[in-house]
Amino acid sequence: MKVLFKILFILFLTFHLSAYEIGDFVRDVMIKPMDFAFPQPSHLQADDGTEIITLPNSDFPIANAELHIYYGRKNLGNRKTEIVRLLEDSWEFSGSRTYPKDKLLQEFEKLGAVFSLSLDYEKTTISVNYLQKDEKRVVELISSFWNEPLLDEDVISTMRVRIADEIKRRNDNPTSLGMRKLKERVFNHTILGKVSSLDGLNSVTAADLREFQDEIFAENKRILLLTGDSDATNWKSYIKNLPVKPGKQEVAEEVQTEILNQNLSEIKSKHLLIEKDVSQAFVAMMGSIPKHNDPDFYAIQVLNYMIGGGGFNSYYMREIRNNRGLAYSAGSATDFQKSYGTIHFYSMTKTESVPEVLKLMQDLIQSEFISQLKEDELKRAQVAITNQFVFLFDDSKKVLQNELRFRDHDMPKDYLLQFRENIEKVTLEDLKRVGKKYFHPGNLSVIVVGPKKLGETLGKDFKLIQPEDSVF
């Protein structure tokens, strides 16, 4: 009897131990329900139509103001792409007539304020972070920047030399080199696919810069984001000091997913080996996905999380890094925009492991693999994504920037409210469908940045090019 009891006990214990499921260690911890309310930004409209969105936080006497002007690189038309970067640097460092050259920046520095100007694809953004007590002075300085613009020839010349050197150095980092080359291919025929050159930079004139600057001044779609210890009603009157100026403008290009798909299908040799003398190669693949406001958005988010976007719990990290020690970093990332989207998969590995890693990266996104994903894996990814949701709101600046982004992307009004529910609705069938449509390796452009000798192991599918060669 005693022996039987012992066996039963051991069997029970064995069953119990082998029945351990991932996460059981903390299963006994009681989680209290969490009270959470969506932060509610306030909206105002200035007399000139500029919208002001604000989420004040007066814990510290420091404020942040960001003026988003909806005119950017997308409005370049057929002009040289180098105009944008040269204008960005020259404008900031040229100051104004009252505060010429870097004097303006120095005035901000005296106050401990941080002023910056950025000219991106969609927008031009003027930001300033300042101590609340200096608000009036900060507004004076920004007004001077806006109303007495100065594009100083000497500054333009300094910035031209500096940007030229950046162009010469741009192939130092294998990752940024690889990503640049992928974008050149995928965004061909669009402004996003244009790359700066020394010749292009040298041919840009001060008149080109002034013309584009005037067009930015003429844009009337503007949104001001205010966070920290700032008062929206004050800014409503300040904005009068930054008037929209009359002037002509260029129509914006709109990149559509179809253009990217066309580009991907036109690439004859899909694979490129970009020669660089490194001990660790950069391997990457890029493809197109639909725009942000597309029914497939949620399923792509979940699948991307499972494959490469979910850090240590993603297949890429598990199979390439943890199980084989082949890379320090491996993963994937999506970029959803208003009218298009892209996805890329990447890894860095010692040159001799490139074929193995590339094959693994491709195998893990084959339809056959995705069709074998299990319900519990899907559930885990959904729980992870929905539980992280609260961190979208832990910083007021982030809250406002997200709100603006979702609005720019034409997302539904209840997007955030419905986000978790829509993620939870994703099924294994959805994963199979979006996997086949957007993740399939046959639809992706592949590049490897590494030494020439890799060509021997990668085979004929790869065309060897130099970092500054054409990607076509």
Binding site: F93, E109, Y130, V161, G325, F389
Partner: protein
């Protein structure tokens, strides 16, 4: 209006327009004290809790006073490898049955160590130009096969990344760690109702670690070194710079270790390093955000009180002492030219350290800084210039360092000469009052900007508590900065920034040499 804001506003009204007044940080410290609770457990563990913000989230940082500086040359890279290994689970996490798994873990440790020894033996033959005996090659193959089989057998029992999985399911953000010369840090942000999950996992990580998957993870670290150092011009220059700059002190070793040593770091040694250094008397936890003081202290006591107290570490004998005379080197790498210049100096809380903080700002922060004006805007010989005070660590004597990216083809000797000229100018003529006020204003706003992030606050509080014995040294350091005068800066340049103490390193682009 919050109490915090009332305080700051009144302070500004009092101090305006001479905003950069020295009481700002000492008074801020009092305000912080009201928001902070410090708990010290019997075993020596210090816990700092700070309540702030409106989001129902917390930043959780665990820091240990152990880093690369605490390794012997043979152990170079061990502190960092150990940081990786502590994510590999415990007797309770990362396994479906540790009892069954453990026999494979033991075998792997034995055979892995033997294999490393054989490979070292083979390397020794190679280095001496002697052909490797056939038997040794066969043994390496056999041991390698055996090890791989054992790893496969152990894999049956391993639940990969279970800690990461648990945190992910509980909404983590930023689950990560870093190792520096001085400290090792483990960090995460969680919804505040998941605090006990964190306490249970992290205390278990310290009580029952299992260094499983050691040999695979060691390969991952080798890949990390390739990425951060071997294929990076800045990484190679930095590594060479400190190996030349320090002659005896362990700050001369890179945190990640050496490419020739990493493949042989021993598991036994890594375990011993853990046991000797990861003790509560060298550990600080900081929790910032939506914190309930009473409940959090209760949780901490429940999970961390039984950590065993460690021994006090004797002071190091080695102190960096150098003969006078400049040190100058070139390092060749296929990447664009870069330059580093540095001078040895005392660490915080030495009074001169704060002077270097101000000097760093004066020289390279913002458009109006002296070197930016001279090198980037006037001479146009440099793309960018930066500086760091307290490099590569802050526990011992360290370096004040300049980082320069010259324009392609610029004459680096002219750049160096211009830097000496600017330093001499400051030494002879001093710093204008408005320049000093500007710098101090910048430092106050920078401080306030950093204080708007739970993670940044948790990182700072735990760092100052660990290195300097109290979190409020953060404020003392800023107060010291506010008291720096022009004469202090002139004196420091004269004392430390001499040509007899300088280290100058240049990275030369091999592509231009045709190599």
């Amino acid at each position: 209006m919050s109490k915090l804001r009332t305080f700051f506003l009144s302070l500004f009204l009092i101090s305006f327009p001479a905003f950069a007044e020295p009481n700002f940080f000492s008074t801020s410290e009092k305000l912080f004290s009201e928001k902070i609770r410090t708990v010290r457990l019997e075993n020596g563990l210090t816990v700092i809790l700070m309540k702030r913000g409106t989001s129902p989230t917390v930043a959780l940082y665990i820091k240990f006073l152990v880093g690369a500086v605490d390794e012997t040359p043979e152990q170079a890279g061990t502190a960092h490898l150990l940081e990786h290994m502590l994510f590999k689970g415990t007797r309770n996490v990362g396994t479906i049955n540790f009892e069954k798994e453990s026999k494979y873990q033991t075998q792997i440790e034995v055979w892995g160590t033997k294999l490393d020894n054989l490979k070292l033996e083979a390397r020794s033959y190679r280095d001496r130009g002697i052909s490797i005996p056939e038997q040794l090659t066969k043994d390496i193959e056999t041991f390698d096969r055996r090890l791989r089989n054992l790893i496969l057998l152990q894999d049956e029992f391993i639940l990969k990344n279970e800690d990461s999985f648990i945190y992910e399911q509980n909404g983590e953000v930023g689950f990560n760690a870093y190792t520096s010369q001085d400290v090792t840090n483990y960090q995460i942000q969680l919804p505040s109702n998941r605090l006990e999950i964190w306490a249970k996992i992290e205390s278990d990580r310290l009580k029952n670690p299992v260094l499983r998957e050691y040999y695979t993870e060691r390969d991952v670290v080798i890949e990390e070194r390739r990425m951060r150092t071997d294929d990076s011009g800045a990484g190679v220059l930095r590594e060479r710079f400190f190996s030349v700059a320090f002659e005896s002190h362990p700050y001369r070793k890179p945190v990640i270790g050496y490419s020739e040593g990493l493949p042989f770091l021993k598991i036994d040694e890594t375990k011993r390093f853990f046991q000797e250094n990861y003790t509560p008397n060298r550990m600080v936890i900081s929790i910032v955000g939506d914190v309930d003081f009473e409940q959090t202290e209760k949780l901490i006591r429940k999970y961390f009180s039984d950590l065993k107290k460690g021994n006090t570490r004797p002071p190091y004998k080695i102190e960096e002492k150098q003969y006078l005379g400049e040190k100058r080197f070139k390092v060749l790498h296929p990447s664009s030219e870069q330059m580093m210049m540095g001078w040895i100096k005392p660490p915080y809380p030495h009074k001169d350290n704060a002077v270097f903080d101000v000097l760093s700002n004066l020289l390279t922060t913002g458009a109006g800084s002296k070197l930016n004006q001279r090198l980037v805007l006037i001479d146009k010989t440099v793309n960018s210039v930066g500086s760091a005070n307290g490099y590569p660590g802050e526990r011992y004597k360290n370096f004040f360092t300049l980082f320069i990216k010259p324009q392609s083809g610029a004459d680096v000797s002219l750049i160096e000469a211009a830097i000496w000229e600017e330093l001499n100018l400051i030494r002879e003529k001093g710093v204008a009052k408005e320049d000093l006020e500007k710098i101090k204003n910048q430092m106050i706003s920078e401080f306030l900007r950093n204080m708007d992030d739970n993670g940044a606050i948790a990182d700072s509080l735990s760092y100052y508590e660990l290195l300097y014995g109290s979190w409020n040294q953060l404020f003392s350091q800023y107060t010291a900065i506010q008291n720096v005068t022009s004469e202090d800066i002139q004196k420091v340049i004269g004392t430390y920034l001499s040509k007899d103490l300088v280290v100058v390193g240049n990275l030369v682009d091999t592509r231009k040499l045709g190599k």
